[in-house]
Symmetry: D3
Subunit: 285 residues, 6 copies
């Protein structure tokens, strides 16, 4: 469940903006057909099997427009739901039900798609100690929803953004001249609280990162063989994170190599949606 502070401080504005995107002046079709005082209900149907995420957001969209709207459901975020399930019933002003339908579903289908895809990866990794991480490869202005969906699916969050973690990547190393100089500069600049992660693409870079005192070494785009050598060489001197070309198929091999973390951009940038629809609207007055 998303917390009350995020709901008010961050999410309300995104939801309102999404509704504005869909309503310039008014919902002409609905306003033409439905009287303003009509109350009713509609059912949320799951049209694909998967892990649901975003039920609170789904309900919140309607409640932003009709503060008396309520969503009744026996399910919660993280539940695995079969295709065809009636997930719940939304009650409220009929104009609000019709006008908010698509925006509410757009959030839910995307978040559930990410949770479902993440969960498929997590299932593969279950026998291993390796943990699955997301990345900053999220859809613009959707990060808070997408990172939450990764957690619902059983994954873990890497840093949220550029301000809450240090990750020295290839272009930073190019700018600094060397890994050791980059690490030295970041330690000097931000001596407190943060762990320092360094991206390495070769064994030489791995050695340099160890030497420089990185807390975490990201092993990027390596073959399984080089990856294995890197993990062995690093040992307890740092945590290891594997990234690049992480397909669902390759997950098992990577886990067996023994990296601590695998990070995958695909969780947020390429998961297809999980399909839902709102059906069976009934007037109640």
């Amino acid at each position: 469940m998303l917390d009350c502070a995020s709901m008010k401080v961050n999410i309300e504005d995104y939801v309102k903006a999404a509704l504005k995107e869909d309503i310039t002046s008014e919902d002409i079709t609905t306003n033409a057909i439905v009287s303003p005082t009509k109350e009713g209900l509609a059912q949320l149907i799951c049209k694909q099997t998967g892990v649901v995420a975003g039920l609170d957001i789904f309900a919140f969209v309607f409640q932003l427009i009709d503060s008396t709207a309520r969503f009744e459901t026996e399910y919660k975020d993280g539940d695995f739901i079969q295709r065809g399930t009636i997930v719940g019933t939304i009650y409220g002003n009929v104009r609000a039900l019709l006008t908010c339908e698509r925006t509410a579903l757009n959030f839910l289908q995307r978040m559930s798609g990410i949770a479902t895809y993440t969960n498929e990866c997590v299932q593969v990794m279950k026998p291993y100690k390796t943990k699955l991480l997301d990345t900053r490869k999220t859809t613009p202005n959707m990060r808070i929803f997408e990172k939450y969906a990764v957690k619902v699916g059983g994954g873990n969050n890497h840093r949220y953004n550029l301000s809450d973690g240090i990750l020295i990547k290839d272009n930073h190393i190019a700018a600094a001249g060397s890994i050791s100089e980059a690490v030295r500069l970041t330690k000097e600049y931000a001596p407190f609280v943060r762990k320092i992660e360094v991206e390495a693409e070769t064994l030489e870079m791995v050695d340099e990162a160890i030497e420089a005192g990185a807390d975490i070494i990201m092993l990027d785009n390596m073959s399984n063989e080089i990856l294995k050598k890197s993990v062995d060489r690093i040992g307890d001197k740092a945590k290891t994170e594997c990234s690049g070309n992480v397909t669902k198929e390759r997950l098992k091999e990577l886990c067996e190599i023994g990296v601590d973390y695998i990070s995958s951009g695909a969780l947020t940038h390429s998961a297809p949606i999980l399909d839902f629809s709102l059906k069976n609207l009934k007037n109640l007055n």
Copy 2:
């Protein structure tokens, strides 16, 4: 190319919000490593073959932070680009290059993913008169980018939102009691400029929609057989749009049935990204 008015009036705010999402206080890593007056360049590399969309947005992200940044490229939106191509070079303040990299790529990869997927569909449909349409099943707060990407890929835009078109769907018909009543109410409510589209799921509903004077009839979730009968029955009395279960595989069959339009939510909600990266950063001072 996105127009100057949209850039200022709509897109600037989204881009700024996306950067804010990625920068709470500062980009710690970059600011630790790079001096504020360092100038440089980096190359945009295409890592998958497909249709590029969003090059102006890509450049705009950097320019919002460094007004002197410039992007040199021989490509334009809609071009088909091979994996491994150096798409262009971005010049500017090195801090800006590093800080904006991910946000710029997040826009570009998503927009190009949609354009590429759309274009694959459009290629299938080329021999036929049927036109491809998008839907309102877009990512929240990304509609302006995603609908534009559909056009870049060769598709066409259905209505932009609830305020600029009338589309009477199943739940509206339920609310109104019948198709004819729903059509009557919308004609009375909005007598000017707009065409009226009605969703029909059966032949009976098709007949009722024709009778009611719909301008466009959306044939939703029909078997090919019923679809064919519907199209024949409608003839010139209305335009026909087919939606629901529209997979790339089924496109050819649908075109052969002779519908005027096919609308596909997958264009915007389930296209995987097209991968790009920013590489080879070089300091220039």
Copy 3:
């Protein structure tokens, strides 16, 4: 009644902005005089005879500041009210009543002024088939209120803005080179949902617009004679809209010529207000 979605998504922000415009730090006079816990009532008096529009907005202004405020009235938008009528009573925190008074009246008086003027025109046009339309000549940042007031007064809305309709005007024709080229380009650019309207100032332009396949032809600034010829020539080939120099006095003549629509900028840009005041404040505790 304005719908709940517009209230939340669009109108709340405008009303809050209007209150901000009137309150930099605080309402000094009121706060000096009235204790923060004082409850009371005041009466809304109509000071000119006309059609009321905006009663929900009037109440909403007070409710935004005092969520317990309530407005009791027997009237609704569209009612014809005589000068001197007590339209209703607003109850709430006395500070809120005094502080919001002017902003609430500013919305109400302007919206009612537009509804009244529109209604005077509509009365003249009643015996005819011709429908009255508004334009985009609205006060900046007041369009949603002003277009709603036109409907309350019995008029109809032309397109809401530049994004939900195609209207090829003189400067567009100049840019395109000819009417036929302009129509061709818009059909190609936006093949779905929209009707295409073309402005014509001469019979030659009317002919060209018919030829190009315009759905609606706007007959702009024509003499009655040329207007009549244009309407005859167009027949059933397109809808006709008359605009330019549309005074209340000339309405009857235009209707008799048989145009389908008359559009008038004066409805929104030059209607004088309908005067209201808030009187007889009483403390209730």
Copy 4:
């Protein structure tokens, strides 16, 4: 000329909001017809004789979208312009010219309408010492433009809003119990900088206001006879302001009675627009 600080701090946001109101996604007509790199010009024509106000705002609308746009004119705010005059030429990107045309004109026509109407009043009052004031009866979210237009027309501004002046009106007196108590409370609450104005509707109230030490007494809705007696009774003890039923016709009489100020809501709430149009668009490349 509006000052640079207001332009940036207040006006830019209103202008951007007005453009957003007119552009949801894009200007379809213009984008269909005009290539993004086309440059051109168009002429601003005055269609009614009057006082122009808002030329900087007119130009600013275009410049917000096209930063290279420029407006060439020999006129400035406050000039009296004859019907048919070519007021100036706007140069810039043709898409920007067409897309911004209506918004730019909507500001200009309303501001010039107010300046013209104000000036007509000011002309009548010229032989007298009495000064003309505006009120807070402005269009919501247009106050900064409308109060400026009053000054351009030769009028003066009363307080800007509830926070920068003290004006004790009928409902405040009702809340406080008496004029003297209301004045006492406001003096205690805000002892510095501000003058205190009190509304009086009868001679008794005038006496009480003088007694209480009001700096300005607003003589509201009085007959000429009572007004005259009030002015005589007040003498030098306070400034006098006359309000209520102030028609252009009655101005002369009021001035002759010798009030210091006349305030008129009609200046901002009921002035008809001054008509302008943008014509003769020419492509320059």
Copy 5:
């Protein structure tokens, strides 16, 4: 107590922004530890003796996140509270209590610090007629809170900002060429409602200000001797305000010289906070 209009129109946005500043994605510590449905309480403890200001703001921070939160207290703004006092108890969702704690305290401690410091000055000035004023030397984006705290502490507010008062300072005089020219220009520009204040640093400037007809003369950075001469010379011709080098120590001397007002920037820019903490959190379910 801050009024309801300011709370909604101005303060809500600042409080929300302050919470956003403290929460990018979520309060990780709290969300990890506390279940979303946990209810509880915590005590507000005063850790330094002084005058409390901002209790409504303190409570409002929690209520913005948890609309059911309530703050029980026997104290009100302006009360003098001893170190160690339990000021009150806040009840609500435990996540909200923990997440909002610091932001709520940051407002309260700063506002109470200003009220306490102001009150110390006011105590010194009590035997005299001289009134204490604040200035515009406030913390950016905190003016509404800081000026309110000055009043709670017993001080008075000078003008709120540049738009609600005229104060001709040294640089204005330099720009105008002379005091008399500056006064003439401001009287011409803004003939209504406002008093005109002029800054003077020498006896010559005092004379010129009197001559020009200033309503208030600010005696800036003068020695006690010159100050005395100025006050004598001005007599009843204008109000006098003393500013510059106003330390708590010097207040008594300044009062004895007989100036009408003393303004002190230190009230808002250099008062140390009054320390509070939130303690003894208890779960209630």
Copy 6:
């Protein structure tokens, strides 16, 4: 120097809001006196000896209103400046100079006050390994400026906000039941990147924190004796941070005890400003 991304993404909005706070409609005094096209200069004078911080922000305030304004100075943030120094000269539109003066100084004086106070602490601590940290006890909506000023003064930043670090405080421990449970829950919730800090007030709590595996232990409100014992007991098992009752006087003792970090809320919440003024305005045309 503040980086270009923060300037655009975060700081511009705060500066614009601060200017709006100071300008409701216009700067009446300035606009009355100065013609809109007047160019000029003014000198920035330091009126107290200390460390300057915020020179870029100072200049940026003017540049936001007058894009051609430029600030010439030989100093940079962090420089120690003597009372009476002419810090630099600001050139630009005279209206902009006068209107922005106070807002620009309000930022500069506060930031420099913090830098100066921080630097005084840092000087005391120089002989020791202990590093000085700030806290989240910042002025609402000023954190980005205040944390930057701490760095300019030679201090270091603790976590920026609730989302980028884990700090388990007394109320969290109360909510969780014990330190070990609290640590366990946070490790489970956020397994990646973050270090975990725990607040301890007694030796028992210190032991429990060590046992639980805290990365940093905050020793809160301890006597020097207990503090010493805690530091000894912790040894290399965690980093140590001392907080509570940290006065400038006590800094030396704390350093000698050997804690790794000292955090001080006073840096941001109670530092008095460093006084600057803008003087000697000269017209240049």
